[in-house]
Amino acid sequence: MRGPSPELRVIFAEEFRRQIRGLGFAFFTVLIPVLLLIAIPITPVVVDLVEGDDSEGVRVVTGALRERIGYADPAGVLPGRGLQDAPRQYGNLAAGVEAVRQGAIDAFFLLPSGYIESGVVDHYRASGESQGRFWGNAAAEFAFRSFLTGELIAGQVEPNILARALHPADYRNFEIGADGAVAEAIPLAQEIGELLVPMLFAALLLIGVLSGSGSLMRSLAEEKETRMIEMLVTAAAALSIMSGKLLALGLAGLIQIAVWIAVATFAMPAIFDRIPNGGELTISAGLLTTVSLSFVLGYFLFSVLALFIASVVSSSADAQKYTGLLSLLTALPIWLAGLFISQPDGAVAQILTYFPFTAPTTLMVRLGAGSDMSGGEIALALGITAGTALLLLWVASRVFRAGILLSGQRITGRNVWAALWHAH
């Protein structure tokens, strides 16, 4: 069996070297792991901010936040139990305002007389805060509200009732089949996993297309523009040039994905471990296979599309414009994720599933959203993607050589057709 031609190997090596030395490759390869690794220590803080920590029944404010909040109770409605985790209590408004002014606390709440009847609470904070102002204020108000809830009913009910009132439900889910059989529903962690992983792959495909296919298109267009491509085609067959570039992009993409998956394999369980009741992140093998196939075929399709565009485009500046088209096609289903999550089998979702350039991402998003697509529908969508990629590869290899002459011309259907006609 004959191996790849020496020219293909040289082009592959050169293109691979260019890909991995590109700034975009390094940036995106490192970005995802960095974000995931940052997410590990941040997760508990975020969870605390959102949910609070009710492990001791009435402790509703995180240590960090609790220390930055103060209150005064002229209305005299709080029992003042001296809880260890309670916000700082001040005697009056003036003391609280001074504490804010001196930076001892970030937020001061005053329960004015008539609070029980009106529900009005005065919130004092320093002026001129800019970073995270909205979220900081919202978090402080949320934390104080939780504290108020606990304190208002404390003493009215038993401590265990109080604790439960602050965290009233951990749901278990059951599904009733058509035959009346009851079965436990998919665990929350698995549901999250099955939503997250396809979405993550869709986002990775978008990033891969932006960084890899985009740069491939621009570099080939530049080779055409500078006429270097004419020197290349006297040294290597058009198919070798295209194959070398595609394989190099594919390998660079695989390395990128491998790094992301390796880090995610370590980081995602660590993140879930830090979510109370987060459970174990799981995803079904079938879904993982379908999502992986969608990713690979999508990456292949967009790489071929990039080569095709570069074959007929007239300059690297024009190629830059078409990078937007690539990202639009990849990102469209992600933008529509909200619609797909609410209607995973709606008309828009179905149409985009069978349009080749939106099929890979739409499949991923729909599967993540819990679509009831059959195996046949999935196979058809993947088949359309693969078929289009192969057809486009054939067309691209036909127009590639003749397309060299299109430099300096505007891309039109007519000159693409002419390029196809004049091709070897």
Binding site: E7, S219, M228, E230, M231, V233, T234, A235, A236, A418
Partner: protein, 309 residues
């Protein structure tokens, strides 16, 4: 002119009845010529005459609609094109590519090992006084330097045939001389060189044989000296203390390099000019028959072809 010392007349590049049409426009129309081993061959024509398209077809970059091409006796496929070095007309290299990387890449594609490609790249860059720029990206070079680097990529693999499309355009006189010296070196080492141009003085200086095309058609092809001889003497140059009155009145006398040039009209002969001097009793210090310049031939042929078409 070099007056090639290569006795062999083996044809290394032959195009026969080459035709190419884009849409309704015939860009190359039945062009035939051949290039012999070891010669410097000038491929002339005005802008847009079809030179670049002919070269692209000759090197298999685009397919002709009709006609045949032979390089070293074979069709222009990859195996024979390894023996060819090519410098395209509109030049440049990818801006982010490093100079040494560009040379190594093209050298490797032409069959050199990494070590060979690097050694030759460095030697060529030294020869072109560009070695200090070898680690720089192309975008950091001037246009002329980029052109020299691309010239180096065309010859890095010591090709048997070097095809250069407008090689001297955009270069300053110093770099033109540097490139010409390197072409002479390659020719002495046995390479065959074909270059296209519309600068006639370069052709007169460098080439043994030429082909001239205009509007896609071959107008002239052959030995440059023979083409000139066929045109005949079209002027005489005389060096003498003064001009005879009989000639000053009736003929166009143009001072040229300390001599006087007389264009020979249809009814005039060199003998008539000589006789006028002798009859006037003027001592002639120098008397030369002037062959037409390539520039004159170019303008005449192209103008005639265009007036006919």
């Amino acid at each position: 002119m070099t007056g090639s010392s290569h006795p062999a007349s083996e044809t290394v590049l032959r195009v026969k009845d080459l035709t190419k049409t884009f849409g309704r426009r015939t860009v190359v129309d039945g062009v035939s010529f051949d290039v012999r081993r070891g010669e410097m061959f000038g491929f002339l024509g005005p802008n847009g005459s079809g030179k670049t398209t002919t070269i692209r077809m000759a090197l298999g970059i685009i397919r002709p609609d009709a006609g045949s091409i032979g390089i070293l006796g074979a069709p222009p496929d990859r195996s024979v094109l390894r023996a060819v070095g090519y410098l395209p007309e509109e030049r440049g290299l990818p801006r982010k590519l490093r100079v040494l990387d560009a040379l190594r890449y093209l050298g490797r594609l032409k069959g050199l090992t990494v070590a060979e490609a690097e050694d030759r790249a460095i030697a060529l860059l030294q020869r072109l006084s560009l070695d200090e720029h070898c680690k720089k990206k192309v975008e950091a070079l001037s246009r002329g330097m980029t052109q020299l680097v691309q010239f180096a990529t065309a010859i890095i693999h010591d090709p048997e045939i070097i095809v250069l499309d407008e090689p001297f355009s955009g270069l300053d006189p110093l770099n033109v001389e540097r490139m010409k010296e390197m072409l002479y070196e390659r020719q002495r080492a046995g390479a065959t060189i074909m270059f296209s141009t519309h600068i006639m003085s370069d052709v007169e200086e460098l080439c043994d044989r030429v082909a001239l095309i205009a509007d896609g058609r071959l107008l002239l092809f052959g030995e440059l000296a023979e083409i000139k001889r066929q045109r005949g003497v079209n002027a005489v140059l005389v060096q003498a203390p003064r001009v005879p009155e009989s000639l000053a009145a009736g003929r166009t006398a143009v001072p040229r390099s300390g001599m006087t040039e007389y264009a020979l009209e249809d009814d005039g002969t060199a003998e008539a000019v000589l006789r006028a001097y002798l009859d006037a009793g003027i001592n002639i210090e120098r008397f030369e028959l002037a062959l037409p310049s390539l520039n004159d031939i170019f303008i005449e042929e192209v103008s005639r072809a265009r007036s006919i078409s």
